[in-house]
């Protein structure tokens, strides 16, 4: 573990790859070479090597945590790993790359700034690589790294590296990813992971870790459109400070943009207008707050506001509708059938919803839209129409990951059955009370 003498930021990334791509080996290598592994962890590895591995330490055992996984030699779920360098802290969401685990990849990718796709240099871009890139694109992960692994097995051939890069570049224009970096590596031997490889004089770029340490992530959050879903109404009965007897705050996380004292706001769906009087935090009042900070807002007017309401910039309104158009990833063994009722959780509210139509299924190998689909099965991605019992106040997922996303919950089992990304609204929110003015 590394101490951080000055404030550093945090990069969240996920790794995609099938069992044989060396994904777990890559993570093991990052942890090992950045000295984030401890003696007892290495000892545990050695113990299990003696028992099951014929004496060979398997870096993959570091990440395959559950006994069920070690026994079957697979990764069954998203595992999170942590390491740090003097430049940055890192959270890895390690997701398995099997066909049937799209849901885990979506889960791991949903909070990532960056996604690493591993490609076996011998095989080049295969269907699975395309699938990973398409999911990363659908989830709007801002940065992508294509790590071309096992370069030692193709004699460190620059030609092969460029060939694979070309294969990848071919379908890149169809994706919504701006920043893509190709790196030739050997995870097993550590080439270009933490230290530059002597085998790739033709590659002028950074090592994998070097890139992770320096990629620009400060603009990954939406700082343009102020959105504040009210999470909890903060009204003290017995305030810590006696002057706060009439305190009525609205607690939540800034889900988009910047909020400032004096800013004119609107509360949706009611349409009440007011002004930000104070931005309260335990550490004292502040002049402004930005996404994703958690704060408590105090308004000039005492309005009837509760959890699920959204406070937005009065001049920059989000969309509103109870007829939604969204891309979803289906995550449940029971397929989605149109007409069935679900609960939809969006920001801080949960409403009844029904999927009224399945418009298409996205073929995640070709990115083609297949129409005339009767149902979506587990791990399918598709576009659907949803009707909600009350209008949602939302943005398109492409402009805001927090106000543009939702989950579907199955009543009864309470299972989370889908992850959804809203397409841009067609109608701007209209206040319920048009005549209301203070």
């Amino acid at each position: 573990m590394t101490a951080t003498p000055h404030p550093v930021d945090l990069l969240r990334f996920n790794t995609c790859g099938s069992v044989d791509d060396g994904k777990s080996t890559l993570i093991g290598r990052l942890l090992y070479d950045s000295k984030s592994l401890m003696e007892d962890q290495i000892e545990a590895l050695e113990r299990s090597a003696d028992i099951t591995g014929g004496g060979q330490i398997n870096l993959a055992n570091l990440t395959d945590g559950l006994r069920a996984e070690r026994e079957q030699g697979i990764t069954i779920d998203v595992a999170y790993r942590y390491f740090a360098t003097p430049h940055r802290k890192f959270i890895i969401a390690d997701t398995p790359g099997h066909v049937q685990y799209t849901r885990n990849m979506v889960t791991g990718a949903s909070t990532a700034n960056l996604s690493i796709i591993l490609i076996d240099a011998r095989q080049g871009v295969i269907e699975q690589s395309r699938r990973h890139a398409i999911i990363a694109s659908l989830l709007r992960i801002p940065h992508l790294v294509v790590a071309i692994n096992k370069m030692d097995l193709v004699d460190w051939s620059e030609e092969r590296f460029l060939e694979i890069k070309d294969q990848f570049d071919e379908f890149l224009p169809r994706l919504d990813i701006k920043d893509v970096k190709f790196i030739p590596v050997s995870a097993l031997n550590g080439d270009n992971i933490v230290t530059a490889s002597e085998h790739t004089p033709w590659y002028p770029g950074p090592t994998l870790l070097g890139h992770l340490e320096t990629v620009h992530i400060a603009s990954d959050w939406n700082l343009n459109n102020f959105r504040f879903p009210v999470q909890w109404v903060n009204r003290p009965n017995n305030p810590t400070d006696k002057n706060l007897h009439d305190f009525r705050g609205l607690s939540g996380q800034v889900a988009g943009g910047i909020v400032r004292v004096g800013q004119k706001i609107m509360v949706l769906p009611s349409g009440f207008s007011s002004t930000i009087k104070q931005i309260w935090t335990l550490d004292g009042a502040v002049e402004e707050a930005f996404s994703p900070q958690s704060v408590t807002l105090v308004l000039e007017h005492d309005l009837d506001i509760s959890r699920g309401d959204v406070i937005v910039d009065a001049e920059d309104l989000p969309g509103s509708s109870s007829d939604l158009h969204a891309k979803i990833c289906w995550m449940n063994p029971r397929p989605l059938t149109p007409g069935k009722q679900y609960l939809l959780k969006h920001t801080t509210q949960t409403v009844k919803a029904a999927v009224t139509a399945i418009e298409n299924r996205i073929n995640i190998s070709t990115f083609d839209k297949e129409e005339g689909i009767a149902e979506l099965s587990m791990n399918d991605l598709g576009e659907v129409r949803i009707k909600t019992a009350k209008p949602l106040i939302f943005d398109g997922y492409a402009s805001n990951r927090l106000t543009g996303s939702f989950i579907l919950i199955e009543p009864g089992t309470n299972a989370t059955v889908a992850a959804g990304m809203l397409l841009p609204p067609t109608e701007v929110a209209r206040p319920e009370y048009k005549d209301f003015a203070i």
């Binding site: 590394t2 945590g65 400060a218 009965n237 607690s251 996380q253 335990l282 959890r307 309470n414 989370t416």
Partner: protein
């Protein structure tokens, strides 16, 4: 130019505050598990950040083994009082007396016995959610844990059947008798915890810092020499300058030789540490899957 970008502690803090507020809003009877240890100390500060100037709307629950360091108990009671919170304590001793916990023959550690006591407390107070200070970096089985960790009506964790957790949308819905464990510090490392304690100037029990203690060499580590499990004639006993890195039962908590007298010293020490925090806990050394097994049975 002002930077609109959070540093790592600010990011972890806002993530945890958001989770705390989701719990307060979506559950009817949530509680915070507070042991007096460093992780739960951070939880309490996050609760203050989430809910002040209001009262913290969750009681604190502690499942005490009866084998605690006395310094920890004193700190636990005092801190709860300072924060004006309701502290509920349920003990293994009481459970043994009433018979709903039974000691395995020859077993001295009471770690396992916390499970029935916790489950009984959940039933007694009808808690539908318990916030705990567990972190994913502690242990391999924890690395697969969700923020909102669903437990069936027997308190069991089923790692193969967890709810997917996407973006910051947590599904806290339960049927009667089911229970949620919520871990706001999931993404924190041991280093983050100490950096946060330092930044927030939080008080921690004195045993985290260097002190003089009689220790006995047992199972490859130094543990406190106590009357609960006196040193045998063939065991090496030594008075040492030590601190504890993680607090469990007094009989199984490893003491590390350390001159660290403040947060800065501890941060410097962790930075060069070559063993994990849990490497000093005998309860995790039983087998490679020790934590996985305990969690499945309903452990924190």
């Amino acid at each position: 130019m002002k930077s609109y970008h959070l540093d790592h502690l600010d990011y972890l803090e806002t993530e945890a505050i958001h989770i705390m507020r989701e719990v307060a809003s979506e559950f009817e009877r949530p509680a915070i598990l507070f042991s007096g240890g460093k992780d739960s100390i951070c939880l309490l500060r996050l609760a203050e950040k989430a809910f002040r100037p209001s009262d913290i709307p969750l009681p604190f629950l502690n499942v005490a083994t009866g084998h605690e360091f006395p310094e920890l108990l004193e700190f636990r009671d005092r801190r709860a009082k300072e924060l004006g919170a309701k502290l509920i304590v349920r003990t293994v001793d009481e459970a043994l007396e009433k018979g709903f916990a039974v000691q395995a023959p020859g077993q001295i550690s009471r770690n396992q016995l916390q499970i029935p006591v916790l489950l009984a407390a959940i039933e007694e107070f009808r808690f539908d959610c318990c916030i705990g200070g567990a972190r994913r970096d502690e242990e391999k089985a924890r690395a697969k844990e969700r923020f909102f960790s669903f437990r069936d009506s027997f308190g069991q964790w089923d790692p193969k059947n967890q709810r997917p957790e996407i973006w910051n949308l947590y599904n806290g819905r339960l049927n009667p008798g089911e229970n949620m464990r919520v871990f706001p510090l999931s993404n924190w490392t041991e280093m983050d915890v100490w950096e946060y304690i330092k930044r927030e100037k939080l008080e921690v029990p004195s045993i985290y810092f260097s002190h003089k203690r009689r220790c006995v060499r047992r199972g490859g580590q130094w543990v406190p020499d106590t009357e609960l499990m006196p040193a045998k004639a063939n065991e090496e006993v030594k008075e040492m300058i030590v601190r504890v890195r993680t607090i469990g039962d007094i009989i199984s908590t490893g003491c590390v030789e350390s001159p660290a007298a403040n947060c800065d010293d501890i941060i410097a020490e962790i930075a060069v540490a070559r063993v994990t925090e849990r490497g000093s806990r005998a309860d995790d050394r039983v087998s490679e899957a020790a934590m996985e097994d305990r969690k499945k049975a309903g452990y924190f």
